[in-house]
Subunit: 277 residues, 4 copies
């Protein structure tokens, strides 16, 4: 059921790949809520993903771009402005990748070229996007930018590797640029720290299943789904959250403020009592 919360609003959504993607779900929801937007991802992602399908469904033009390249980002913003007839209202950054994770290099055996690349793709790209938009004055007053993050930015999770550092950097950039962009253009910038979600991208992290069971039992409301994340993101793009900025917002069923739940403890105790190994 649509509330037309984004009626008349225009935006750019970076990082949708397939139906499981957070960005995909957010795009669908933004469309339902009346927004018009363009979609962007890398040429490789366009080839392997199903962005065409989303493009048709949401009547959204795809503009390929490598978010680590300023000139390509300039193209995305310029074309989007042209296509939608003026400055835009919102931007979603849902981009992350680590070659160290992919190549199964542990955090005490990082390849530093990969590490810089992780930071470049997953975090500095956010700054590039913001700086490009700022210089082009591409976002309307009281516009809203959201980046997707994860609690690994605050707390170490085995296997999350250098993506944890990338998320910490991403959240810092949201604060740093949130100050500048808010002060100068009244644009707000926040990150959503989402529950672990079974996306295609996230499936590279080893031990995801056990972790997701744990976080689900720890969280009083259970893990948040991609579709629920999309709902939440819509509130941040809407006019109802105009004074929320520079925040990292947990969307995780309560996980972030749990120390130990009854459900998780019972499961854990089962292992302690268990003789089957």
């Amino acid at each position: 059921m649509s509330h037309n919360l984004l009626k008349g609003k225009t935006g750019i959504i970076f990082g949708a790949l397939d139906e499981k993607s957070l960005a995909w779900n957010i795009a669908e929801k933004c469309y339902e809520e009346g927004a018009q937007f363009t979609l962007s991802n890398t040429p490789v992602a366009l080839r392997f993903g199903q962005l065409e399908k989303l493009s048709e469904k949401c009547n959204a033009t795809i503009i390929p771009a490598d978010a680590t390249k300023v000139d390509e980002l300039q193209t995305v913003f310029s074309k989007s402005i042209d296509l939608m007839g003026g400055k835009i209202d919102f931007v979603l950054h849902s981009i992350g990748m680590s070659h160290n994770v992919r190549k199964k290099l542990s955090y005490s055996d990082l390849n530093y070229d990969y590490f810089v690349k992780t930071l470049d793709i997953s975090a500095i790209s956010f700054h590039r996007m913001l700086q490009t938009a700022y210089k082009l004055d591409a976002i309307k007053e009281w516009g809203s930018v959201v980046g997707l993050s994860y609690i690994a930015a605050q707390r170490t999770l085995t296997g999350y590797n250098d993506m944890a550092d990338a998320k910490a950097l991403l959240e810092s950039i949201a604060r740093s640029f949130g100050y500048i962009y808010g002060r100068d253009k009244k644009v707000r910038i926040n990150t959503i720290s989402q529950s672990p979600t079974p996306t295609t991208a996230g499936s590279g992290v080893k031990g995801m299943e056990g972790l997701m069971d744990f976080t689900n039992r720890m969280s009083p409301l259970g893990n948040a789904s991609a579709s629920e994340c999309a709902d939440y993101c819509v509130t941040l793009f809407s006019d109802l959250t105009k004074k929320v900025t520079m925040q990292n917002l947990y969307h995780d069923g309560g996980f972030s403020n749990m120390g130990m739940s009854l459900n998780a403890m019972q499961m854990y105790n089962k292992a302690m009592d268990c003789d089957c190994d």
Copy 2:
């Protein structure tokens, strides 16, 4: 412009006094967004405030209650359920008072009876409200409870006195009960940490003007108003934030994550250069 975000939802709003009140603004906005609700405040507040006016405007029954008394809270919940035909969807807690502040007792000269009263009225009342609702099973699954807080819970502000401790306790209760209520009934509980707002209640804190000028210059988007707080609160009562719980959410134009802004620094430097005293 209404989005019917709360269409069909019912609730209880505690703590509206007059047009400046956060709770008053929230009530108006909830009404606009299609909600039906009752209003509650103490008999004293009903006498000195203008709740009748709000009651008429929003077509909302007033149920007087002292939120430090369980039986009176039971009445509020029972009557509300009767009036609105079933379990409710949302509750707002906007209650706070310190006799130490009123009597200008400094934090190093607290009266302990007053201190306990501050905690009782401003924080334990939140637990009473939640426990009463929980025992009566008064709130629907995926219902939402919001308490209003202030950054003094995290950072000491001269003059805020024992209200700082009350807000810290309030936020702790939101977490503690958020776990229980989420786990057992899928009800979410959050606090909004609002910019300093020129309410009638807040005017007791000395030096509010200077502080509000400072926070306004520190915040890239400026202080958040009562009306904007109401917008934000609506998102938390809506179905778009179902998996947000146990959080303290800053609604403050970015203040909470600022160390020093250009605007505030310039003002401060002016004092350093100033010879007029």
Copy 3:
């Protein structure tokens, strides 16, 4: 091996009961490091505990007091000053108790008289202690006050009940009074957030064993012991930490910043694979 870190320093240690107590361990360590101090606890605790033994070992006078009573605290400070020949250097607050926990009332079925009592004994007593010392001007410039806390103040743990709220209040009082006492008398106030420790007092919390196994596996350095807590506390009483104030300091082997460790995950996964129930 002593470093004479507290040579010439005098203090008061509240809350030692028996050899397992954090306060007991801290007292022993302070004595080793050259400090002279008095010991205080309630008459009941003196009867059931073994404080006499500690008193002899550390050559420390016992001054009975109920920390919820200002006049008794005044006696403790006055007598301590008399006994040790002048203003003191440090104070330890290690006091906590919940009748709700003892009577196994759950957090959604709290007795409110007990709740207020929990706050009064476990947190407001800290304010009483500080206000008493402040009014008597009992602590030297650059003196140091430490309260013992637990991560339940930030994150909900099943079974910790209203003690979580008490710890949140305790930490807030440390900040609020830390500002006043620092500004006016250069006295610093901090809390140590200690690993779960197998004390006699802590044994009331149900499921402690499973929880301690979990936190031990989550923490890269394992749970911190009472003896290690004492070491840490000594650094905070020493002159080496003069500018640390209003902080809550985690002493927990890293637990507070862990999301999931390999060791805990393996244990948890064992339960998932386990068919023995």
Copy 4:
């Protein structure tokens, strides 16, 4: 007055330049407390600084190295082990530099090569150091590593620019590697978040004077000096803090937990009342 807290301990101190440096003060204090260590900095820093003087004073060998190069770090660790006869106990990382700050490029006009360089020098160097030490197994069990940070990692300060992001990354690396190194070798890793300090390096940040006056008036104990930072660092290298890891520890006279002090407010109000501009 020495307490021989570091007697028999050996270490490496990276980043001392001249007498104002935090690392310089830390080196002197470590020496006083009985430690033996080597000193390292870049060839450029060795030319412009006065490290020779410190080397003589502390009887410490200088090993030049660019901390962005793994092979040079390997040399520092290997030589240090050779010189001091075995694995070491502690490491200090006090390295930071931003060409964007130096060239006065604003945060919305960053040069991305410089940005990556800022991160590389100021944060990734910490990972390189840790990974090198880890692979060489250069640090003893219960050894201690400290990096120096600043509150800009959490809260935006005008003019601090991309160094804020670098510090956020540094603190994340401390957590991420703190988990691994703690789990595998019982080595602890923390950062100290120090008051703004008038170092030669820090003087590049514009408006430092006004900011330091502000933070000094905000902090109940005033800004922490370089010498006090050295005292605090000694406690973290000592055996008294064995279970403290993955923490960011504020050493700032209380600034981090202040919202507004009386002193700073009075100064600010002076500007509001002032007609001299």
